[in-house]
């Protein structure tokens, strides 16, 4: 009895101590003492534990800790997990501790609106990357509505990769679709825009669609199951997790066109002759978001438009090229030393040329920042605003966009 009571007491004390330790290490408490000369930047993640999130956060940290930035700002990374309430409460703590700039990966486009508005009223600058927020005072940078660099009319990852797949198949064939996490706006946009392309070709039949949850292992298993049912499929359209799709195809002994996102494995296969295209979400957005935030702090809120589009990466069988070492040289676009699910788009020649493999895997500070190009090249057209902000700008109204965008006829915003 006595022993049990002692054990329970020790157990309870351990739990309390663990909480105290956790609270301390989250360390967003009001700046204890400290010089007060340096202002605070926070990098706030929600999800974590996969390559994409790690690389995005590392790049953000690498930029924020560059010597010229570290001289003026203290940077801290906070991981909130996948619970919106936790991210809201972490943001409140950051605001209370006097943050100047918060670069965040939002767990939801709407759940954070009140706390972001609170922060804006207190003078905090918010920049959301990859995922977007609807709060009007925050800046968004995302690839979701992004366009091809050589032809900015060609927009939307889902549509562009679907078109590429159709072209690789010559306009006819059976295709399967590997989607992301069901119910998310990102998955919906990619899928809807891809279907609008597939629907234009009577010779293309979508025989199966499944949810790989943007995860390599789940994608591999789901693809294996679908291949068993449709051994005659001609091509696969995929969101993230396409490295698993390819592995399932290899196990089944099939080499058919695959379009997907930016895993190292896909690009390795492309460079070996596998037909397909690599595009999609770039972890580089994390680093670019910090650069945008720093520009806002330096040049004022008007120097950066509220809605920025990250250009769509685009690597094909012809253009996939291995990097000799850890740097991006000669137009190379993947690494031999990275693991298969490493997301290769950690570099963008115009907006994030200072990145490297080391920065993405370790967060080591970059040596110097390069200036951002003109904002005109990065601003999101008003016609696509509804996808990232949920509403159209003033003077614009929801409607199909027929001009200036390929594919035509997608829902968007049109001038009143």
């Amino acid at each position: 009895m006595n022993f049990k009571k002692k054990l329970t007491l020790v157990g309870a004390m351990t739990v309390v101590a663990a909480f105290a330790l956790a609270a301390c290490s989250a360390d967003v408490s009001p700046s204890g003492g400290a010089d007060g000369a340096k202002e605070k930047i926070y990098i706030n993640l929600s999800y974590s534990g996969n390559n994409w999130q790690d690389e995005g956060a590392n790049l953000a940290m690498a930029v924020a800790q560059a010597p010229e930035v570290a001289a003026k700002y203290d940077v801290q990374k906070v991981i909130s997990g996948s619970d919106p309430q936790k991210q809201i409460s972490d943001l409140q703590s950051m605001i209370a501790s006097g943050a100047k700039l918060i670069v965040l990966y939002p767990i939801s486009p709407t759940a954070l609106n009140p706390v972001i508005q609170q922060g804006c009223d207190a003078g905090v600058t918010f920049v959301a990357y990859d995922g977007t927020v609807e709060a009007p005072c925050a800046w968004n940078i995302s690839y979701i509505t992004g366009a091809r660099t050589e032809n900015p009319e060609k927009a939307f990852f889902g549509a562009q990769t679907a078109q590429a797949l159709v072209d690789l198949l010559g306009g006819t064939g059976e295709v399967m679709m590997n989607r992301g996490v069901a119910g998310t706006s990102t998955d919906t946009v990619h899928y809807d825009t891809a279907m609008s392309v597939f629907n234009e070709y009577p010779g293309i039949e979508v025989v199966n669609e499944f949810y790989g949850n943007w995860d390599s292992s789940v994608s591999q298993q789901e693809t294996a199951k679908a291949l068993a049912a449709h051994p005659g499929v001609d091509g696969i359209w995929s969101q993230a997790g396409e490295d698993g799709v390819i592995k399932a195809l290899e196990a089944a002994g099939m080499e058919i066109p695959v379009t997907g996102e930016n895993s190292n494995y896909l690009r390795e296969k492309l460079s070996a002759g596998w037909p397909g295209v690599s595009s999609g979400s770039a972890p580089a957005q994390g680093g670019v978001a910090v650069k945008l935030g720093l520009k806002i702090l330096a040049d004022g809120a008007d120097s950066v438009p509220k809605d920025i589009e990250m250009p769509l990466p685009w690597v094909t069988t012809e253009t996939a090229k291995v990097c000799p070492d850890a740097e991006f040289v000669d137009g190379c676009n993947f690494f031999s030393q990275a693991d298969d699910s490493f997301v290769t788009e950690i570099f963008e020649k115009n907006v994030l040329p200072e990145s490297s493999y080391t920065a993405a895997t370790t967060g080591a500070p970059v040596s110097a920042l390069q200036a951002l190009p003109s904002m005109d090249t990065l601003v999101q057209p008003e016609s696509r605003r509804i996808y990232t902000r949920g509403v159209c700008d003033a003077g614009w109204t929801p409607g199909p966009v027929e001009e200036g965008q390929v594919p035509a006829g997608l829902p968007g915003c049109v001038k009143e």
Binding site: K4, L7, T8, G11, S48, G49, N50, N51, D54, E55, N58, I79, A182, V207, N208, E209, F210, Y211, N213, D215, S216, S217, V218, Q220, Q221, E222, A224, K225, A226, L227, A228, A229, H230, P231, D243, G244, K247, E250, A251, A252, G253, D339, D340, S341, F342, T361, T362, G363
Partner: protein, 339 residues
């Protein structure tokens, strides 16, 4: 539940003619052995019935996928099954799987020979089970909460340790097990592994002293103690052995995916519980048969393949999956199994 019950193994009456065969069948179905037999019958029945879901079924590819994906589920369900058998439940599955996969991949990439990397990876994943076992066996805390907390801590520690490199490549030997290059006596390695897991798991659970003691403590801790079983040690061992099983699943998944990231274990927790219960084990502990669990793993995997093949929308797929688990529970209740 700690009341004493009499358990029926096999037929409870002798061969008097006047006992009707429906009664005998019903009695047999009420046992976990009967439940297991039902599961195997359903699996075998479902193979030709798959034709209803897709004109390309049944096929060799379908069977191979079922065996392969069912293997992972069977390994995870072995650990979960032991824990449930002892009267608990284990929510630390995702963390243990991820630890096993991560450390095996990491150590192998650092130059350790693959077998050593695997053993160390298993030991690391078993640490989660170790802590679970220590806490559950020496306190009154409910296993639900303990395993949830320990699993969360384990996952968080792994997140911290793996900063920047959550993805790990797999040692080539593990990849070779799954990529179709190897061939043991003409059968795929996954089939051999499934048979090995089935036999070993069944023997450990039903034929060793350890396994018998788990049944005993699942039925009644008091009675077990009176019978001289070292309850604390058995309770501890259950969680530790389960941790090793989850780590093994992680190692296999690492080979299958020729790589892993930290979320690799996330999709296996709930299916492992479903499979254990559908396979005939009581959720409150004390009864169960690993053969039934393996059959249930194959059954649920095959059903999931069929449902995917039929091309239903995702929502319908999820509804069907849940309905089937409920149906299996209902069937076992009708069969008279103890719930």
């Amino acid at each position: 539940m700690t009341h004493l019950t009499t358990r029926t193994e096999g037929f409870e009456v002798d061969s008097h003619d006047h006992v009707s065969w429906p009664h005998r069948l019903r009695t047999y179905m009420g046992t976990s052995g009967g439940q297991a037999a039902l599961m195997w019958a359903l699996v075998i029945l479902l193979v030709p019935t798959s034709r209803l879901f897709s004109s390309n079924f049944p096929s060799a590819a379908m069977v191979n996928s079922t065996i392969l994906l069912g293997l992972f589920l069977a390994v995870v369900a072995f650990g979960q099954g032991l824990v449930i058998l002892s009267g608990g439940i284990d929510l630390s599955v995702p963390a243990a799987i991820a630890l096993g996969a991560f450390f095996t991949g990491y150590l192998a990439s650092q130059g350790l020979p693959t077998p050593l990397a695997i053993i160390l990876g298993l030991l690391t994943s078993s640490l989660v089970g170790l802590v679970n076992g220590i806490i559950v066996s020496s306190t009154n805390f409910p296993p639900f909460i303990v395993t949830l907390a320990v699993g969360t801590i384990g996952a968080a520690l792994l997140l911290g340790l793996s900063q920047g490199q959550p993805g790990q490549n797999s040692p080539p030997e593990l990849v070779a097990l799954f990529n179709g290059d190897l061939n043991v006596l003409g059968a795929a390695p996954s089939l051999i592994m499934l048979l090995a897991v089935l036999i070993l798991g069944y023997l450990i659970q039903s034929r060793t002293t350890f396994g018998r003691s788990v049944y005993a403590i699942g039925n009644s801790i008091r009675a077990a103690r009176i019978a001289g079983i070292r309850v604390r040690l058995s309770a501890f061992l259950v969680y530790w052995v389960a941790g090793i099983a989850y780590g093994l699943a992680g190692v296999l998944l690492l080979g299958y995916g020729s790589g892993s990231d930290l979320n690799i274990g996330n999709s296996w927790l709930l299916p492992s519980i479903a499979v254990v219960v559908v396979g005939g084990s009581s959720i409150s502990g004390g009864t169960g048969n690993y053969s039934g669990t393996v059959a249930a793993a194959l059954l649920i995997t095959l059903l999931s393949i069929d449902i995917s093949a039929a091309g239903f929308p995702e929502g319908v797929k999820q509804v069907l999956y849940g309905a089937i688990v409920l149906l299996a529970l209902l069937l076992s209740k009708i069969g008279g199994g103890r719930r």
